[in-house]
């Protein structure tokens, strides 16, 4: 079967089979699961751990799990963990060095990952975010070996979005709610009548896995139901970015008085960059052990909201909160385009929901747009 093959229909038992088939092929399955009051992505042993009957009610600065009667499995959005955590881990060892008693030093590079990931039930915005990370971390002259070792050979089962959250704005960023590329298998959850999934392959590997699942031919009605579910999802999305070229907006508002307003609310806590599925910044540190014979060079996720992030000899460049918020939103919506030829934001809404202060990138962008023409905020933020 190839990607041109007609879609198939799988039942809820097909999800269990999908896990088995993926595990047989050596994948570690990563998928959504309900934990500690949120749907997070985690390594899953079986389809039973999927968040069946849970969806998330989100607002700026707020996320609440909601029980639902229909047993929907992929009705979650904007959980705090994205695929980034697995392919660009929060902590990684770049190298280690050991000194033998005779003084010779041996170094070891990054540990090779023992796992090959299959992402099951990630949404189209997350697949788009993987595409952004591919460009940033693997698409340049110096691919990041830690990323490529984890990303190469991943298998992606996207779940088209049929239940967008209030914080979603993928339609503005052109990344959802339907899935168009970047996946091996696409599922569309159908809840009208029998609980079932329309499944289509997006790669030869996906076709091979789909062929191994118990499935039946999809009828015209199933195809129509799937398109309607995705179309309804698009119509249900209420958040939007200003409808204009965002890099130009960011460039035109560098001196906006609005930066001071957002700075009064922003905690510089860094949650927005940490949950963002495309924010890739890291810092490095060296650690040694007590014997003095072993050293490691580690990297950790960093954030442009930290003071050390802009430290150059003598001090930090971005000391004000205004300058740090401006760096974040300008990079996401503006300068990312210059750097990588694409937007740094895929519209997943995580930064909106998981900002404890409820700062909303779409509202801030709209406020910046509205502030054009107002007198500048004075001092350079």
């Amino acid at each position: 079967m190839t990607s041109a093959d007609p879609p198939r229909l799988i039942g809820t038992d097909g999800l269990g089979a999908l896990f088995t088939v993926l595990r047989e092929r050596g994948y570690t399955v990563v998928g959504p699961t309900a934990r500690d009051g949120a749907v997070v992505l985690a390594e899953l042993a079986s389809a039973e751990q999927l968040p069946s009957g849970w969806s998330a009610g989100t607002e700026a600065g707020r996320y609440r799990l909601r029980r639902r009667e229909d047993g929907a499995v992929f009705a979650h959005c904007a959980g705090p963990v994205s695929a980034k955590t697995f392919v660009h881990p929060p902590r990684a060892r770049l190298w280690s060095a050991d000194r033998a008693p005779d003084g010779t030093v041996t170094t070891t590079g990054p540990e090779a990952p023992a796992k090959r990931f299959a992402f099951v039930g990630v949404h189209p915005c997350d697949v788009a975010a993987l595409g952004v990370l591919d460009r940033v971390l693997a698409g340049g002259e110096h691919p990041d070996p830690i990323y490529t070792a984890r990303r190469d050979g991943t298998f992606v089962v996207v779940a088209e979005c049929t239940e967008p959250a209030a914080t979603c704005f993928c339609t503005s960023m052109g990344t959802g709610p339907g899935a168009t590329s970047g996946f091996d298998l696409a599922l569309t959850e159908l809840l009208d009548g029998e609980h079932r999934f329309l499944a289509r392959s997006g790669s030869p590997a996906g076709a091979e896995v789909l062929a191994a699942l118990p499935s039946r031919q999809a009828g015209e009605g199933d195809l129509a139901a799937a398109s309607a579910a995705v179309r309804d999802a698009a119509a249900a999305i209420t958040r939007h970015m200003p409808d204009e070229p965002l890099p130009a907006l960011m460039a035109a508002t560098r001196e906006s008085p609005h930066w001071a307003d957002v700075a009064s609310r922003c905690l510089t806590c860094g949650n927005c960059t940490m949950v963002c599925p495309t924010c890739f910044c890291v810092t490095t540190e060296d650690v040694t052990d007590l014997t003095g014979g072993h050293a490691e060079h580690l990297r950790r996720w960093d954030s442009c909201f930290g003071l050390d992030f802009s430290y150059v000899h003598g001090g930090a460049v971005r000391t004000s909160t205004a300058s740090r918020y401006r760096q974040w939103i300008s990079h996401k919506l503006g300068t990312w385009q210059d750097q990588f030829g694409m937007s740094g934001c895929v519209g997943c809404g995580r930064c909106i929901a998981w900002c404890p202060a409820g700062i909303d990138i779409t509202r801030e962008a709209a406020a910046l747009a509205a502030s054009r023409g107002e007198p500048s905020g004075g001092a350079e933020p």
Binding site: Y63, G270, M274, T288, G292, W301
Partner: protein
């Protein structure tokens, strides 16, 4: 061999205990440094000078205000341990109260006491090279600092918010997912976001982060249902004086 001394001022001994708590690493530490003065571990005392002094506790008596200068003079590197030594500790609550009144309420013979009106951090009296925050300190940070000094490198002691570590650890935010109060956004990292990892908000025992936004945090705490009194008490738990400015607390 590097000599290490451990000193105690007004404190509960919990931070010194963190060193003894490094069970797996303690023998390695003992193998790399000569412990010259550590009364909690050994009665043997070697004379100074010392390469590294770890100082626990705050300055609360005139005698201690003298003693800390002698320790500073005898130490090449001086590191303060914990909320008491870095911020005056819980006992800094006295700074905004009448100490004579406290003393007469608590002690039968307050005239036996020779105490200062304030509890102040070590850095208010002498130069301090590194500060390890927390109540108690994080043993990982203590080992990091000792190994860094032994290797002649700078210890990694970030001053950003607890939230950075909370997210790196994949905790679910208690503010966003449960509407609970948490001081993580204004508190210095270093504990590894241990409280949120156990499903409760941060109480700020590490003191303020590098650029805390007090008014924005107060909005969060109010939204979580805290009254102004609750907020004041939360900030006053461990590092009352360090958080005074963040809390908008004049006293």
């Amino acid at each position: 061999m590097t000599t290490l001394a451990v000193w105690k001022f007004a404190s509960c001994d919990g931070c010194q205990l963190s060193l003894l708590d490094c069970e797996d690493e303690l023998l390695a530490v003992a193998g790399r440094v000569r412990i010259a003065h550590f009364l909690e571990a050994s009665r043997a005392v070697l004379p100074g000078p010392y390469d590294v002094s770890l100082v626990e506790g705050s300055i609360t008596t005139p005698a201690d205000a003298e003693r800390i200068h002698a320790i500073r003079d005898a130490s090449r590197v001086l590191i303060t341990l914990g909320a008491c030594a870095t911020a005056g500790g819980i006992q800094a609550l006295r700074n905004s109260a009448d100490v004579a009144e406290y003393a007469s309420a608590v002690y039968a013979r307050p005239d036996y006491l020779d105490t200062l009106a304030t509890s102040t951090p070590i850095a208010a009296h002498v130069d301090v090279d590194y500060e390890l925050h927390g109540c108690p300190i994080d043993k990982g940070q203590l080992l990091e600092t000792i190994t860094a000094l032994l290797a002649g490198r700078k210890p990694n002691l970030p001053a950003h918010s607890v939230c950075f570590d909370c997210k790196r650890r994949n905790n679910v935010c208690v503010v966003v997912a449960r509407g609970e109060p948490c001081l993580g956004p204004v508190t210095r990292a270093g504990c590894g976001a241990i409280c949120p990892a156990f499903g409760r908000g941060c109480f700020g025992c590490f003191g303020p982060a590098e650029t805390p936004n007090g008014p924005a945090e107060a909005d969060l705490l109010r939204a979580a249902g805290m009254s102004e009194d609750d907020i004041r008490r939360l900030y006053r738990t461990f590092t009352v004086s360090a958080f005074a400015e963040v809390a908008g607390d004049a006293s």
